[in-house]
Symmetry: C2
Subunit: 335 residues, 2 copies
DNA sequence: CTGAAAGCGCTTACAG
DNA sequence: CTGAAAGCGCTTACAG
């Protein structure tokens, strides 16, 4: 039905081996032979069948990126960066939405799409490293996001403790005294909330400010809705905060919405810092001060490491990459 | 190396055919046989090899969604909806970022990932139906977005003329007289800008308002940046508008930013309407009035139609689906 | 229901 | 460089 390698070989008057060599850019092909083959490929509009190739080679040049939800701005931007980084290297990214709980594990469990996938980058919500270890199907796997526990996987993350320290210290440097934190309970098993709170508390302590549990809001998620609700709680306090460090930008945008509704000025009454540097925050009014992880760096290095693992013999030691970040000071703290 | 179908058959004491029957849910399997096979599958942790299956059956149960950029909120939300709709039906969505120009055509040209993909949903930016027709590799293809020209493909779109008419009429009903439009030049060959302008002008005409070319801004793209720049142009006019209909929400969010910077009140001084209903607009302050296409409906029906085409004998007549929408009135016009 | 076998379209030793 | 052939792991007629 479809044109096959052998059709191309017949038309070019060479062996299938030679056609395969041309397609795969192997050496020892004369320019003349190559030209003949390429002409035949063009004439027949031939495209290699990736299923056959994948079956034969045991490699598909597909990798998966498993994220909680692709419509969330941070992950959407990450997905875009991964796709670009992978395309540059001739491989394709399959984006999997885990949508929380068990679905995440199930993905890994389900054998990485029936062996179609060469490796996976996994941003877990509820899965602990132990669970993932039990479920992993032996293919290369890189974890994204903070890992409090050791685990046996490569992992890539921002130094969240340091970043949270920097964000909080920035607020302190503005003279703020009652600095709240929104999102301390978030991030599930990957411990985002716990890790960022650590940096937050550390900064307070370094400045001689006692941390007030009433100012640490857990919330139920990391979306605008949660940020808005947490901010309402904070405003209802007998002594509301004069600054808020939100553990991601969506929380911060929700908080800003509540502050606007309450008629409070930002940063006049309350200064706000986020985390992630999503595009919405840059255009918001006021624009959002935030921790900006280098997403391109993250995608590039993670894809490179994964491909190294896929190609590698296997037993290299576990690697841990730290993503560079900057603190982007914008109107929400420097109006 | 990996466990194969034959390993499962051997362990269960049945033929490979029977194992295959169990996996593919074919009839005429006794409960006892099924149980034996399933036990063997579980014991060996067997997962079918999708490359082999795909090679043999000529179907992969993968479809592609080709969109301009996945980090753009509307497309991110669409991608999420497609993934869910597909997963429900046991198929997987491969999201391709075309990033504009020729890349879009290239995707279609490149033979849909070497025949891995069963069909494609394509949201073109610059490709005309004619170009796509020439490049299509014969597999089912559905176009997303307005098609001014006929084309020979199935397509799914909002009735943008009517939606733009509704949005503009809403502004007129608020008593606005100088209603600008941002984005009239956008959407490339798919003609989003032209189609929405048509509805916009129609509404003005119906209300007896002459349309003023100075109030129709083309801009270069459909992002916040473009909306912000266009709004600045409008404010520099001798007679600035008292309302703006932006052809997508990103343009509207950019415009709102410019208005905030200029110290103008929304909707007091200028009322703003968008198109797409992305989450950012719902939480923005002021929240954004917008045309809200039913994205779940879109994804569900498009996936269903594509699967019908893939399964179908082929020569059914071209189908055109119209996506339902509502006008969501929020603070930016009803503060 | 079973068993033996062909074939999907590649890649890759193997012998020249 | 070429040619003939095996084999990746499935599905599916085919004969029983």
């Amino acid at each position: 039905m479809a044109t096959r390698l052998s059709d191309v070989a017949a038309r070019a008057g060479v062996s299938v081996k030679t056609v395969s060599n041309v397609i795969n850019d192997y050496p020892h092909i004369t320019a003349h032979t190559r030209a003949k083959v390429e002409a035949a490929i063009a004439a027949l509009d031939y495209r290699p069948n990736v299923s056959a190739r994948s079956l034969r080679k045991g490699r598909s040049d597909f990798i998966a990126l498993a994220i909680p939800e692709m419509a969330s701005a941070y992950f959407a931007e990450l997905g875009a960066a991964f796709s670009r980084a992978a395309k540059k290297r001739g491989i394709t990214v399959l984006i999997e939405q885990t949508e929380g709980e068990s679905a995440a594990e199930q993905l890994v469990l389900d054998g990485m799409r029936g062996q179609l996938i060469d490796g996976i980058v996994f941003s877990p919500i509820t899965s602990t490293p132990a669970k993932i270890g039990a479920a992993a199907s032996g293919k290369p796997l890189i974890l994204l996001g903070e890992r409090t526990t050791g685990g046996t996987f490569d992992h890539v993350a921002v130094d969240s403790v340091q970043a949270a320290f920097d964000a909080t210290t920035h607020l302190i440097s503005l003279g703020r005294q009652r600095i709240a934190a929104i999102g301390v309970g978030g991030g599930g098993a990957s411990g985002t909330g716990a890790v960022r709170r650590k940096g937050y508390r550390k900064a307070l302590k370094a400045a001689g400010i006692a941390h007030d549990p009433a100012l640490e809001l857990a919330g139920t998620g990391y979306h605008r809705l949660d940020g808005a609700a947490s901010m309402r709680e904070l405003l209802a306090l007998p002594e509301p905060p004069d600054a808020v460090f939100c553990f991601n930008d969506l929380l911060a945008l929700g908080a800003l919405r509540t502050l606007a509704d309450a008629g409070l000025s930002v940063p006049g009454d309350v200064a706000v810092v986020g985390f992630d540097d999503i595009e919405d925050g840059r255009y918001h009014s006021p624009s959002l001060t935030t921790i900006s992880p280098d997403k391109e760096w993250l995608a590039e290095h993670t894809v490179a490491l994964l491909l190294e693992r896929i190609a590698g013999s296997g037993e290299a030691e576990r690697r841990s990459l730290t993503v560079p970040y900057t603190l982007e000071i914008r109107e929400s703290t420097a109006g």
